[in-house]
Symmetry: C2
Subunit: 900 residues, 2 copies
């Protein structure tokens, strides 16, 4: 090969696992296995660069053909026979292999090299006619479907036709003649569909298959998949060409898959399945029953021992759980694939600590082997595994959790039953925005259509509600108010089901729910050494705490939640909302405040609220004794404390229509509701604007905070209140509020003789606040990013309105990879955060920076907040452990924030 | 003076007009006049640096006293007598003088140097007892009020007490003895209020007055004024100390003010008033009738000629209209002040062209002498000056225009009368958010309270509605439904008034309204040489067109508006909204579209709309033949085309309550209204989101545009459609819409055989769109900044909701200097525009950039758009000339964008 030619083909022996960009994931691992001396059938990889050159230029690069010829020659030399050789054909497989596994692409064509002539040679060499014709049949079928793009049903029809003529349904009942007949039919289909014969030239077969792999990179499904998964469109795919080995060539042959540890539980010891006299696809198809991998010892001790050695080698080499595929051909073991294996959440934690104990990885690396999403899964309540249960269906695990309730089939019923205290599961074919109230009223949602991006799935995840979607096997009859399973079970309205949003399984009747042992550990009711899983979580979270730079606080409005947050490891309250302190019994004071005509009346209403607010703050500051508590001044518009305009209008109009008397107070109320009504309350008179417009409102709250702090101090406690002003977009807003607040703090200090310092800071939650952060920082001791509102305003959509109406469509179109309310949108919202952090710190180097939007507890987002340099994240108490873990992971590996 | 001392005091002869930062505006001009040899009473200026040092350090800089002594010495030497000298006292005035004129500050103390002893000397020297005691009286009053901070009413009370005892109301009826008595009383008040005697030491008087000027920089009113006017808080003020001259020292004395041309009309020739035997404050107070400045020629020919010479010198020197203040003391003319004079809009245009003709300025500079706000004023319809009219009140000119209508005194009545076709003027004490519907229904608004930042003023300006606010002399009686003027005129509900929002004057009865000659000129119905004003506008707008870099387009949705825009000079349509094309008769198709259960039904609704839309576009493209027309695909949420939820709910509930039948179609409609109801429609399913969720909706519009263009082409026209996608925040949104649009354009081209190219671009109106502009530019041939929505989302408030509820409060607090919906917020919204322009151009150098928010026609904003590098602005047709003018001004003077 001339040295200045681009190198488009690599022999397995030339690659390694670090070359995934160039060789794809599968190829890089095959190369790695080859290089550590494992028995891998010889082969070569056509690089992603070749694919890109082809896709870009519209033609195969001219150098490719020669390079393939050269490497094919090496393969043939190793195997001692050539591709398609008539009397003893070498067969090869062609497999796609991108950097990231992509279900949208062409995957495999086996047995390339067979044709009308070499099938005879194969039969003779194998001493097995049936095997040879079955292999040819498989080639035609795969080639026809994936290379020639013929509808797969056409082949299956022909196959089934022969079977039914023979009166059988089992493939194995077909003999060589039957298969020869099928081959004839398949060739006819190919001629008919493509207008030309199936190519008899083995090299033409190979070249066509390679091109088909290249082309499949741009198939619609692949494009959609990439968009949804945010995989760059220009990576291209590699193509693996490998000598075929056969597990279906008689009793001394077989095929299997395995894991080096149990991927379900994390138990030590190999785990897998073996199937004698079969090809890999037969294992997947589940046509015959497999045996456990450990049974291979009895079948072929030599191969078994060799496999155990190899699996041990792979695990030490990859320093992680590996999964493998292998074939035994006439007693010889061949390794066909390996990769780091997927595992359950519990297994991930157990395996990570096992590997540390075995000296294979250090504790920092252990942190990278688990993630917050897994920890979250371990914290959901689960169905009691010991309980008897009856699975009746399985769907998509759309939103995790375990929910039990009576089935209802429409949203109005869900609301009605929930109102009278019943737990319900809303069952629908699919949900739409009309079902929102029903979804809110239900414990869980079960649908028969739609996947992880369906309306039900997206909205349920947004609500944190358990959901199983797309349980296609159930037949929902809305008229009859029931659903039926294929097994004939009919579940009527009012009957109880249990749905597992983590696994997607639906059970009949009530399955008892047990609390998560991990939560019990965090709560302190289960010791760290109670079992291997809890011990693993304990070790890893401890490592995370020792590693992380980010502080973790909780969002909490009550003493109870605050105590829980503290147990879960929160180092303070990052967001204490004060809205609920105006609800319930206190609503009457707010109404009085709103309806006040005169200053005196308004001041009286505020005065009535003061002792109540003070009491609230004493409770929270006491619960968080010694830790900071960031209290946000009232944010929502006042009309939220009044009745709904439409409901009140209807109630009054109906009374009038019936000639019934309408109370004057209701009329006054309606007038106030109308006056305060806003077209877009999210963009209305709220936050700091409210504080500047309603005299005394913020003042009341600041005084309540100051007096509560004094009271705590008098009780010997160490209160650390921080006052947070919401919705600031202009520095003058904060300046004005701050001035008043400082006066009140000084007044309370002088009245009480006790001086409790309180920081004053602001939310950064409107885009302008971020853009003006440098100016604002001069009057703020801290910033807390309100990424919920910031996301709403940066994108220009409100969560309440759009999750139901277009998020599922947007996820489907790949406009979002994930809802920007779940994971922070780095490019848009994140950019504003970055701008604000830089400008804020430049203006005030000791500015304390945190985030209190829901993103504070989202794994991927925590990494972003670490990278951008915040001091802490604040999230719901339940998410505190997740944030601690991810903050540790981010600090341990700041080079890669990918939490996939 | 030691040379390394900071120089805190400048003699007038040491300064010039370019030193306004250091010497303040008044001081710099006094220095300038001194240096060009005009007769200015000698004096010196204490610099803004001295003020800043004092304010910063809390004490007068130690060097100041000596420097004042030194310069005072020079003054005394020039005048030949010393400060407060007992037998012949030199008196001085102390005046504040900041860089920008600031009404919140202390202004003047005259006659410093008088005390119980020197008043006698003054009397003897002047030969006028009364004059001396009146001067002392004035000193005590001014000093008491402004230096010692005593409530002015106390002095007036004492003064009035003596007058009423003497049975007179005229100051001139008081003799020397009376004034001596008043001096005694004033000294008593000062003792009583401050606990010490009035300082007899002239230098102490001077020093105290200087400090009072310094302190007045931080008076509450001054701070508020600065905040509102966006004047930096750290400029400080200078202090002018000047030898007193007296116009009230007998018949050969007097005082006057003048303009070098008529500031009202722009007529050539001096203009002003003169008052014999008086001080400047008497002219302002209007106690006696002044004579015209030209009459001075008869009174004192010598001084008159000298003054004419000086005025001519000043005008040539300043190359602009100047206003002056002067005093004649015993036949000698003294110049006390000059500055470039304020003038009316019409005068500005006429004077600018006069000065060009006189060779004093060039045409580029003429552009800087006028501005868009003035041009706008000239374009409002005005009351017929020839018509008889009866002024009954005057208030604040809060929102320009001329409105005539019947008075109503509450908003419900305004709506009711307007609904039956009557023009109404809403009269209130003040308005509040409850009055919004009434304001919308009225031709104009008249209030008796509140200034330019009152609720009525802010909201009216936002609506472009005529408003006179704060007409304090009228007494509004809401119960009687009438208002009364001081002259006793009572106007009842239903009686007609005419209000002039440009001047603030209120007339009784109907005053005929005449169209603006300037508009008639733009319309082409009045020739450019019809009068001097029109000729001036013509010359200046022509110069602007020749100078400007920015293109000017118009926002227009109809052929009629488009034609008008073209006449007004628009080079295309920058925003053609398509919403109205779904209203009226067509609403039924939209309802059908919304209620469609099935694809076929939806497609039928769309098909019905196609020919209608096509016809619309043919109309507009024809009107703008040869010029680009940017058509925005439908933006508002669909529920805007359905009835109001509350109204429909009430209507149905009332029918039900009365037992009347409810049509099924109404129930179905209510269900749809509920389903589509959004909490925050501004942040809901609209714009590109709607296009992606409703199949075929955008497609319909694109097809209608393409077919319309083909039809125009077939008629021999040159259509230039541009397709604009609203509300894009993510590049994938645009990519998806663009793909579909290109397919449709190609399809129409191939169906018709006519290929009309159409650019495809996007609005940048959500913050994320600006932040992602680089990515978005790859799929956009143009950007149009939608600064209305961008302002709403960047600040996080919706115009509809907040202008009424808190803008007046924000303007009052100085959080806004001007509504960000009127003038673009440079720091926040402008920053996003800047980011987007840079990223967009970097990604696509030929990206065409414009703005189509209402800011496109705002003078100050046009300068910003010029600076930031846009290609064009687009505004309402009526604003097109304003935008042309300001675009020219911006290009002629890119160093200063200040349009004040």
């Amino acid at each position: 090969m001339v040295s200045d030619q681009p190198k488009f083909v690599y022999d397995f022996a030339e690659g390694n696992r670090d070359l995934k960009d160039l060789l794809g994931g599968k190829g890089a691992n095959l190369a790695e296995m080859t290089n550590i001396g494992l028995p891998v059938p010889p082969g070569f990889i056509i690089t992603t660069e070749a694919c890109k050159a082809y896709l870009h230029g519209g033609a195969v690069p001219p150098e490719l053909a020669d390079q393939v010829t050269e490497h094919l020659g090496t393969l043939e030399k190793t195997m001692g026979r050539s591709l398609g050789q008539a009397d003893d054909p070498q067969l090869v497989s062609v497999r796609s292999g991108a950097k990231f596994s992509m279900p949208g692409m062409m995957e495999t064509v086996l047995n390339i090299g067979l044709n009308d002539e070499s099938v005879q040679g194969l039969a003779k060499q194998a001493g097995n006619d049936r095997f040879a014709w079955d292999s040819y049949r498989r080639l035609l079928q795969m080639f026809g479907k994936t290379v020639l793009d013929i509808e797969g049903g056409r082949f299956e029809e022909a196959f089934d036709g022969v079977k039914s003529r023979k009166g059988t349904t089992a493939d194995l009942d077909l003999d060589a003649d039957d298969l020869r007949e099928i081959v004839g039919k398949y060739k006819g289909i190919i001629k008919e569909e493509t207008g030309r014969e199936f190519p008899q030239d083995p090299r033409e077969q190979l070249d066509m298959a390679v091109l088909a792999v290249f082309d499949s990179w741009n198939a619609d499904r692949a494009i959609l998949y990439r968009r949804q998964e945010r995989i760059p469109a220009d990576l291209g795919t590699a193509v693996n060409v490998q000598a075929m080995v056969f597990g279906n060539i008689g009793e001394n042959s077989g095929t299997g898959v395995g894991f080096t540890r149990d991927p379900g539980s994390g138990e030590r010891g190999v785990y897998g399945d073996y199937l004698e006299d079969a090809q890999g696809e037969d294992v997947v198809a589940g046509i015959r029953n497999t045996v456990s991998l450990t049974d291979l010892e009895k079948i072929n001790k030599e191969c078994y021992d060799q496999l155990m050695d190899i699996m041990s080698t792979l695990e030490r080499h990859y320093r992680d759980l590996c999964d493998i595929e292998f074939t035994i051909e006439r007693g010889k073991l061949w390794m066909l694939q390996t990769r780091v294996g997927k595992r359950t959440a519990g297994a991930a934690f157990r395996i990570a600590t096992q590997l540390v104990d075995e000296g294979l990885i250090d504790t920092d690396e252990a942190l990278q082997r688990v993630n917050g999403a897994q920890l979250m899964q371990l914290m959901f309540p689960r169905f009691d595994e010991a309980a008897t249960r009856r699975q009746i269906a399985k769907g998509v695990n759309a939103s995790p959790g375990a929910a039990v309730g009576k089935c209802v089939f429409d949203s109005d019923t869900a609301v009605e039953w929930n109102d009278r205290g019943e737990d319900v599961i809303l069952v629908r074919r699919e949900t739409n925005p009309d079902d929102l109230h029903g979804m809110i009223a239900s414990r869980g949602i079960l649908t028969s259509r739609g996947g992880k991006t369906s309306h039900a799935a997206v909205v349920a995840r947004g609500m944190g509600k358990t959901c199983v979607s797309g349980a296609e096997e159930i037949d929902v009859d809305l008229k009859a108010r029931s659903f039926t399973t294929p097994a004939g079970v009919t579940v009527k309205e009012g009957e109880v089901v249990s749905i597992d949003g983590t696994s997607g399984v639906v059970y009949l009747g009530e399955v008892p729910v047990v609390p998560s042992p991990v939560v019990q550990y965090f709560e302190g009711t289960l010791p760290a050494d109670s079992d291997e899983l809890v011990a693993a979580v304990h070790r890893i979270i401890t490592q995370a705490d020792n590693t992380r730079r980010l502080g973790v606080r909780a969002n909490s409005d009550t003493p109870e939640d605050s105590q829980r947050a503290r147990r879960f490891g929160a180092a303070g309250i990052g967001l204490c909302r004060t809205e609920h302190m105006f609800l319930g019994e206190r609503r009457k004071h707010v109404e009085r405040l709103i309806l006040a005509d005169e200053d005196a009346e308004r001041e009286a209403a505020l005065a009535a609220l003061l002792p109540l607010q003070r009491e609230d703050f004493v409770g929270i500051l006491s619960a968080m004794d010694g830790l900071p508590v960031t209290i946000r001044l009232i944010d929502p518009p006042l009309h939220e404390f009044l009745p709904d305009m439409t409901e009140l209008s209807v109630a009054i109009a109906v009374k009038e229509a019936k000639g019934e008397p309408v109370e004057e107070k209701d009329r006054v109320l309606l007038e106030a509701v109308r006056r305060l009504h806003e077209q877009n309350p999210m963009l209305g008179l709220r936050g700091v604007r409210l504080g500047l417009v309603i005299p005394g409102l913020f003042g009341l709250q600041v005084r309540a905070i100051a007096e509560a702090a004094v009271e705590c101090r008098k009780q010997g406690k160490d209160p650390k209140p921080e006052i947070m002003v919401p919705l600031v977009g202009a520095v003058q807003e904060l300046e004005t509020v701050r001035e008043e607040a400082l006066d009140i703090l000084a007044a309370v200090a002088s009245e009480s003789g006790v001086d409790v310092p309180a920081l004053i800071g602001t939310m950064i939650e409107v885009p302008r606040g971020a853009l003006q952060a440098g100016e604002i920082a001069e009057f703020a001791e801290f910033f807390s990013f309100g990424t919920n509102d910031l996301t709403q305003m940066t994108w220009g959509f409100s969560r309440d309105d759009v999750e139901a109406s277009f998020f599922s469509r947007y996820l489907e179109l790949g406009i979002f990879g994930v809802s920007p309310f779940e994971t922070i949108d780095r490019e848009g919202v994140g950019e504003l955060v970055r701008i604000a952090v830089e400008a804020g710190r430049a203006a005030r180097p000791d500015l304390h920076l945190g985030v209190c939007g829901e993103h504070g507890g989202d794994p991927e987002s925590v990494h972003f907040f670490h990278e951008v340099g915040l001091d802490y994240v604040s999230c719901s108490p339940f998410r505190v452990p997740v944030a601690r873990l991810e903050a540790g992971r981010a600090a341990a590996d700041i080079t890669g924030s990918d939490t996939r």
